[in-house]
């Protein structure tokens, strides 16, 4: 009797579990669908109103329109080496990003590891950080020429300070008690740096790297605006001079695509490194 009752309950629980899980899966699937549909509708709505307003309320000479931009984009892609320009800007951005970030991280570890060197140099670094970097860009063109090098240097400069400051903050966030205990367990200076301080600082560093992808691109574009013969910045600036608004917008669209791709790449690198952290799920956001 009791055995039969237990078996019956187990059966009921099994059924309920399956039903609840299925309902939850269905709910999530539907939620993801609603959000995706909403996103598409919003974008389409914005594009449609732009298209509709352009030519009626707004002067297409200044604001162009999605259909003209699409035509310009295809034209640039087929006849005016859009991919070559995009490639230049991408290389400048990536190289500047890599050099500036590496420099920021390495310098942060050096200055905080060597006695009171960070405290000594901090005022100088803060003063340098205060200089609007755009103001320095023409000098870099003068020093490094109008080729790709000057853009890489400018992009690196744009990136450097943000990564540096964040890395210092990350290093500072290391728990002193944790360091004490790990040293008590037998860790040497190198162990502490590599196995405690670096992982503690890593979330800060990765956040900085993520923030800094568009920043690197700003650096590259600023350089191209000042003086260049290639690149999306050059393309946009030339199109604007020629009052070809739709081509300028097409270039901007290409920039957006490049940044989105780079962000996706950073995310792919970040995820396995941050597996140890508790997952912070934005509710309903399917990722």
């Amino acid at each position: 009797m009791a055995v039969a009752e237990t078996a019956r309950r187990a059966e009921v629980v099994q059924e309920l579990k399956a039903a609840v899980a299925a309902r939850e899966r269905e709910r999530r699937r539907r939620e993801r669908g609603v959000i995706l549909a909403g996103r598409v509708l919003i974008v389409l709505g914005l594009l449609a109103s732009w298209e509709a307003l352009s030519g009626r309320v707004l002067d297409p000479f200044f604001v162009s329109s999605p259909s003209r931009i699409t035509r310009a984009f295809v034209d640039l892609l087929l006849h005016h080496e859009l991919l070559v320009h995009a490639q230049y800007t991408t290389i400048e951005t990536l190289a500047g990003f890599a050099i500036g970030s590496a420099g920021g991280i390495v310098l942060a570890f050096l200055l905080t590891s060597l006695g009171r060197l960070y405290e000594m140099t901090e005022p100088i670094l803060v003063a340098l950080y205060g200089i609007p970097r755009t103001a320095l860009a023409p000098l870099f063109i003068m020093w490094f020429g109008i080729g790709i090098t000057s853009k890489i240097v400018i992009a690196a400069l744009f990136v450097f300070f943000v990564v540096f400051m964040n890395t210092v903050a990350g290093i500072r966030s290391t728990s002193p008690q944790m360091v004490d205990l790990v040293r008590l367990m037998g860790a040497g200076g190198g162990d502490v740096l590599l196995k405690v301080v670096l992982p503690s600082a890593l979330p800060y560093i990765l956040t900085a790297l993520r923030i800094v992808v568009p920043t690197a691109m700003i650096g590259a574009i600023v350089g191209e605006f000042i003086s260049a013969q290639r690149g999306l910045g050059f393309l946009i600036s030339r199109s604007t001079f020629e009052f070809s608004t739709h081509a300028a917008f097409a270039g901007i669209f290409a920039l957006m695509v490049v940044v989105v791709l780079m962000n996706a790449a950073i995310g792919a690198v970040e995820r396995p490194l941050m597996r140890w952290r508790p997952q912070q799920r934005a509710s309903g956001n399917g990722g």
């Binding site: 944790m178 008590l184 367990m185 992982p199 508790p278």
Partner: protein, 305 residues
């Protein structure tokens, strides 16, 4: 500036005169006096002062005022006292994380200078590295000692099983409960087999049931190990249940007030420790001493830990 230089003529250490009178004839009094036997851990008239920035000046705060202590090898000693009375400072001095301002700290006959790697330290926070799995955390001290990977894995796995965490070797700390993290942290400390264990309110943040279970586990792992333990706690039941001796400290500046020898025979049953006939007397003796320290100005904790 209020910089008082510690003077030996201040209050004498009280633990000699303060030993629990008549606390059972069965308890062998572990002499804080001049026995020939080498103590595992010894504090000799230790003073520790801290400086605190205050506006433009500096405040000097006396955390420990002439503290002397002898802990025999294999002994389990608890220290209780009001918040801020310098309990944790004593552990930090023994670990060599702090140096005494005056006096001497001697561990196994050797004055402590710099980090004292003979001891293991378990803190209130588990201090596991959040980016390492249980196994990698427990194996860490062996990694620092250059033990080959397969041997340290084996040793870590054995310790993890010993503290009852098998099946959670590859979990990250955030995937474990507070009690499990504490077990992992104790296993990690035992991985390098320290001769003495310093424990600073290790079970403080845990819920009541988990705490008793871990106390029991700690006792079973300690009994027969010959390991010396200095245990800081606020929980008098815990102090009585675990220790050979309980030392009551005064409020800041911290001095030893009295010690109570816990003459409940081992092995002990921590789950039913209240039922032991000696328990109420011991508890009351400790509580009376402690209450005097808390009573004077309420429960106001002093600065520092």
């Amino acid at each position: 500036m209020d910089q008082r230089v510690p003077q030996r003529t201040l209050t004498a250490p009280e633990e000699d005169g303060g030993r629990a009178g008549g606390m059972g004839p069965g308890a062998a009094p572990r002499a804080p006096g001049e026995t020939a036997v080498q103590a595992a851990i010894e504090l000799r008239d230790v003073y520790r002062l801290f400086t605190l920035p205050r506006g433009r000046g500096i405040d000097v705060f006396v955390a420990l005022e002439g503290v002397s202590l002898r802990v025999a090898e294999g002994e389990f000693v608890s220290i209780v006292g009001p918040s801020g009375c310098g309990k944790s400072t004593i552990l930090n001095l023994i670990a060599g994380l702090l140096a005494p301002t005056a006096g001497q700290v001697v561990v196994f006959g050797r004055p402590v200078r710099g980090l004292n790697r003979a001891v293991g330290y378990v803190t209130q926070d588990d201090n596991l590295l959040p980016w390492r799995t249980t196994l990698a955390n427990v194996a860490m001290p062996l990694e620092f000692r250059g033990v080959p990977a397969d041997r340290r894995r084996a040793r870590a796995a054995a310790l993890i099983a010993q503290v009852g965490l098998q099946g959670f070797e590859h979990h990250y700390p955030h995937e474990l409960s507070g009690g499990m993290r504490k077990r992992a942290s104790i296993a990690r400390t035992l991985a390098y087999d320290p001769v003495a264990l310093l424990m600073d309110e290790p079970f403080g943040p845990l819920d009541a049931q988990t705490r008793v279970i871990l106390q029991d586990q700690l006792l079973r792992m300690w009994e027969g190990s010959g390991r010396t333990v200095v245990f800081v706690t606020h929980d008098l039941v815990e102090a009585v249940a675990l220790s050979d001796r309980v030392i009551v400290m005064t409020r800041a500046p911290g001095r030893f007030k009295r010690e109570v020898v816990v003459d409940i025979p081992r092995p002990r049953d921590v789950f039913h420790i209240h039922a032991h006939p000696r328990f109420p007397l011991l508890y009351e003796a400790i509580w009376q001493e402690l209450q005097e320290e808390l009573g004077r100005d309420g429960l106001g904790p002093g600065p520092g830990g």
